[in-house]
Symmetry: C2
Subunit: 458 residues, 2 copies
């Protein structure tokens, strides 16, 4: 393959690549909110049509939730089949008032120093990153006339809501999914100039907890004192989840959590990341997690328990002296090592039930669940990826852990025996999941080039 | 005065009285939500016009918030001037989905046993109760041609949001407010057949507490662990507010809280109210307040701290793995005895600030504030009220405490030396402040008759 011609093609056609990305970014495919189900379908259909233009016959496959864009294309004999995984769904945009512009009106913003960023929900997570893989294949196809390897695409629409339909899709599709490697572009750079390969992901378990007391909202004058206030019950439960040292207090929580190896620790120490470096950019100064752990240890090798949402009683303008009939919280765990999601889910429920008074009730809503993942140190794709990144960025990539979760990566491994190469070009200040999400134009551009180099090396 | 003719007039004109009440109930005068400011003005204007028809020249006086309906009318020489206080504002109606009908489409519903209730927001608190006083005067005027006593009316529009404009109104109006007694109809019956006179009210202090951490919402994968979660900080603060015995832990909280006298205790014991009686009707069984206190002691003589609202992070459908940048709570105290609202407000702020990490901030929004109130045992109006109630209901009234707050009653006493006769006809199941608020038609009807008897006795 004439790699230089491919890279030149990418450079020369950057605007067209951006136009395609913007068309996808304009679709508000928020998976967690049922109001946007039609937009999720629309995003899937858009991808099917786009893949068709480069000779990948994909289809929008229905699931119990949002569709999966799935398709296969042949490639040169003797080459490994690569499965590209990405997700076309995005996070909700609230609070909308904090966005400087419409989250679904993507645009390129040029900074005073001349650098450019793509702004909009999904610009980074994951539409921008996902399209960098697809655009690399498109360039190779345009220049060489064919795809570099046999390709399978699987682009899902529920990653941001815990992928509830994915187990069913896996079960129904597993014979078709078989590939030699999975490529995912949903992770980050180490810093603006240093690429990274992600070696591990934390798992995730998420739940709603709803505590109910009286059968109606009460006047706090008439009933304040004798009547149980579910806000108090819930606040106590949430406060009990951590001890003074930042450790999670749920019995058995740390079962299956190994310590990082000395080599890993040394590698992480060499990255010289301080708490100030990590927290300063988001306006914080004091590490809040487990005492006696560095921030990289906390994010890459330690499990957490976070209250992602809580709500009860009157929360509007002014004041209402109410004792509400119910209060609710959204609580998630990030898992590492061999922590068992199902066991932890049960342990949380026991922990909560023990703290709910006899005349109150508690309801749980189970959201997504997936264990942690770690790629083998000696996998050959790691070497391919590292060399491609070094060629593009002029610097060896950092081999990092990741604090986030991509449950599907674990499923690929444990259901189908497939390992995943995770290379991504997000930066720490990309505000993924927050208002004013952005993606560096250079990440998109050099991301396409990096993937082209990976494919060329195969 | 021909009392029987007045009572007959009330009976014969019940439908017309109801029509007037319904016209007022149809106005959604929610004081705490700025979106309804125009409706508050409309309710005030309606009252001004209505009072004019019975010869009371009132006006809608502007304040820094919602207007006060204020006016004076002469009456027979030598009679005590009575100030009628009420409030035309109502509580918010959320959650709207729990209302069986439009909260502002009042109607009379007949039960299977033939008893009737008026349903709608404000039907009881306080439009229905307030109008029972006004309708009694209207009947006396219609039958006798004149008002029974010199009358001052002061109907405010901010009672449900802590009366923030009231101190300014008092200061500006105090010379005009002077009267021999204040009558308020905003309290309850002891039970369906036993009227009551309220001897005390709890005070109220209310605040918003807003804890802020990072300068943006964060991804709980990327930052879960090292980044401070304001939901955790706030839940811990809220959980710390009470100890295992249900006592409030804020230093100095119980200063100025006296014990009820032996006579009071004996009187309350004679009412034979059990925890089951009090909590059963709202679906609860276990008393939740301070250990070792009866429910009547808790509600009538003990201060409380309630979390009326809490909110932080994602609270919509589905799940969002966010660490929010802020979390907030609405916390109020009910006060008794000589507890000092300003001192307690400061103590709460100290208590919260001590628990907020160094790199987080806390903001407080102060809402209404007023100390507790107790009427002197030997006030002559108590005797007048008790005799009138016994004549109407065939039963001596219970002399009760009240758990709720009417800050203005304290202001009348301490700014102007005026005591307040609190007689009301609410029932425990009236769902004030809750969806499907109602007021017994008999409360409205016999309430008008009771007030007519009180006025006649003057």
């Amino acid at each position: 393959m004439d790699l230089d011609a491919v890279l030149d093609h990418i450079d020369a056609n950057l605007d067209a690549s951006l136009e395609r990305l913007f068309a996808l970014l304009r679709i508000p495919s928020i998976s967690t909110d049922p109001a946007f189900a039609g937009d999720c379908r629309r995003a899937a259909d858009w991808l099917v049509a786009d893949l068709a233009t480069m000779g990948i016959a994909a289809e929008s496959r229905p699931t119990t939730g949002h569709p999966v864009v799935f398709g296969k294309a042949d490639g040169p004999a003797g080459k490994p089949r690569v499965l590209l995984y990405g997700h076309y769904d995005v996070q909700p945009v609230d609070p909308l008032s904090l966005w400087q512009e419409d989250p679904f009106a993507p645009r390129v913003v040029t900074r005073e120093d001349g650098s450019k960023m793509i702004v909009g929900r999904g610009s980074c997570d994951d539409k921008g990153q996902m399209m960098s893989m697809i655009e690399a294949l498109r360039a190779i196809k345009a220049v060489t006339g064919s795809l570099p390897v046999p390709v399978t695409v699987m682009l899902e629409g529920e990653e941001e809501s815990g992928s509830p339909s994915l187990p069913g899709f896996f079960e129904a599709t597993k014979d078709e999914l078989k590939a030699d490697a999975v490529f995912v572009c949903d992770t980050g750079m180490w810093d603006k100039s240093t690429p990274a390969i992600a070696m591990s992901l934390r798992g995730l378990v998420a739940h709603d907890i709803i505590v109910r007391a009286a059968d109606r909202d009460l006047h706090s004058g008439q009933f304040g004192g004798p009547a149980r206030n579910p806000n108090h019950v819930l606040a106590k439960i949430l406060a009990d989840l951590h001890d003074e040292d930042g450790r999670v207090t749920i019995p058995g929580f740390y079962e299956g959590v190994g310590e990082p190896s000395e080599a890993q620790k040394a590698n992480w120490a060499s990255l010289k990341m301080t708490a100030e470096d990590y927290l300063g950019p988001i306006g914080l100064a004091e590490p809040a997690g487990e005492k006696g752990r560095t921030v990289l240890e906390q994010v890459w090798s330690r499990p957490t328990c976070e209250v992602n949402g809580m709500s009860g009683g009157y929360t509007g303008a002014g004041f209402k002296t109410v004792i509400p009939s119910e209060a609710s919280a959204k609580v998630s765990f990030r898992l590492v090592g061999d922590q068992d999601p199902a066991k932890l889910r049960a342990a949380l429920k026991d922990f909560v039930r023990e703290r709910v008074p006899g005349d109150c009730t508690v309801e749980f809503i189970d959201h997504g669940m997936g264990p942690a993942f770690r790629v083998p140190d000696d996998w050959r794709m790691l070497q391919v990826g590292a060399e491609a990144l070094e060629a593009e960025w002029g610097k060896a990539p950092a081999m990092v852990g990741m604090g986030g979760s991509i449950p599907v990566v674990h499923d690929f491994k444990h259901t189908l025996g497939m390992d995943t190469l995770m290379i991504g070009f997000a930066l720490e200040d990309d505000r993924v999941h927050s208002p004013n999400e952005k993606y560096e134009l250079s990440s998109f551009h050099k991301g396409m080039r990096s993937w082209a180099r990976v494919f060329a090396a195969l």
